[in-house]
């Protein structure tokens, strides 16, 4: 019985302690890897002429103010990234909240395309209200 109790402490102790320490969880990264990386790649390299890159992508750099809308509503009909033509279709991520989109954009601008600027949640919210769709 006593043994069982000690055992419990050993197991529970670290769990409790760990849960108090900020986990360092990066939601932007998790979201990006779950929702974007399948197609655009973990590093944002894209895949041949099927999926455009996000890293060093002139299209993205020139259209950063449309990124929030692009994530929510998708895009299709073709676009040119770094001189390469893409004629695919990206579905919108309608289930992502403004906060999710905000996290994804900042993850991309911090880790994948440093030519982008960081955005605030208010900016993202404003962009999303003005989406043309």
């Amino acid at each position: 019985m006593k043994l069982a109790r000690t055992f419990l402490y050993i197991i529970l102790g670290p769990v409790i302690v760990c849960s108090c320490i900020p986990s360092g969880r990066d939601y932007g990264k998790e979201m990006y890897e779950e929702k974007c990386a399948n197609c655009h790649g973990i590093e944002g390299d894209g895949l041949q002429q099927l999926y455009p890159p996000l890293k060093n992508a002139d299209y993205l750099e020139q259209n950063q103010d449309k990124l929030a809308c692009l994530i929510r509503f998708g895009t299709q009909g073709g676009l040119v990234v770094n001189g390469v033509k893409f004629e695919g279709k990206m579905e919108g991520q309608h289930l992502l909240s403004d906060v999710d989109i905000h996290n994804i954009i900042n993850y991309i601008s911090k880790n994948i395309n440093p030519n982008l600027k960081q955005v605030t949640i208010t900016e993202v919210g404003d962009q999303l209200i003005d989406c043309k769709e």
């Binding site: 399948n38 790649g41 895949l47 041949q48 999926y51 579905e91």
Partner: protein, 209 residues
């Protein structure tokens, strides 16, 4: 202490076999044929092999089992508009197809499971945009035949209206030898698994030369 030693020795032994053993098992349920030959009982193993098939590839040519005769091949099930795991699988398959494109004994075969949408021209366009080398075939055909063949490869594929894209399927790559026998499975969505696949293809090349 003794138990610990035993454990240590056992694990050393085990890991050392793993390194030496370079051959790949033959997977699937095999049959055994036992008969008397010259008064002696002999058992022959009838290995599980993939049945014949007949599809159309992205160039509009018939693709049937004759084309994989004596070939080591890697196969998967995908669809061009798949929003989830397929792009990763294509990326990994592309890497492998590129690496073995000069070896005519190795080929790559992707079956579409969205046969209604993935017509020959759609597959052709996909292959072109992907810059897929010539040793990689994309095939389409009758939906039921493709699904039932997936079953024979022992990977899951089927329709599911709730899944993204309407079909559910496994991200597995299956490795077969020149006799259409299944030799190994890989998670086609993990780039790390390709190291194993590369090594295993080389093992099969050696085995059959």
């Amino acid at each position: 202490m003794r138990a610990f030693l035993l454990f240590l020795v056992a694990s050393v032994l085990l890991s050392s076999c793993e390194e030496k053993d370079q051959s790949l098992p033959i997977l699937g349920r095999h049959d055994f044929d036992t008969e008397y030959k010259n008064g002696e009982l002999v058992t022959d193993t009838i290995y599980y092999t993939l049945p014949d098939f007949r599809f159309t590839d992205h160039n509009g040519n018939i693709f049937d089992e004759q084309l994989v005769k004596d070939k080591i091949y890697v196969t998967d099930f995908f669809f061009t508009s798949c929003p989830t795991i397929c792009p990763k699988m294509s990326k990994n398959m592309l890497q492998m197809a590129e690496e073995f494109k000069d070896n005519e004994r190795v080929l790559f075969l992707s079956h579409s499971i969205d046969t209604r949408h993935d017509s020959v021209p759609v597959l052709k366009k996909y292959a072109t945009k992907l810059n897929a080398p010539n040793n990689w075939y994309f095939v389409t055909g009758e939906k039921d035949k493709i699904f039932s063949l997936a079953e024979k490869y022992m990977v899951s594929a089927g329709e599911d209206p709730h899944a993204p894209g309407g079909v559910i399927h496994s991200g597995a790559f299956v490795l077969l030898d020149g006799k259409r026998r299944i030799r190994a499975y890989y998670d086609g969505t993990k780039s790390k698994e390709m190291n194993k696949l590369r090594a295993d293809i080389k093992t099969l090349i050696k085995e059959s030369s």
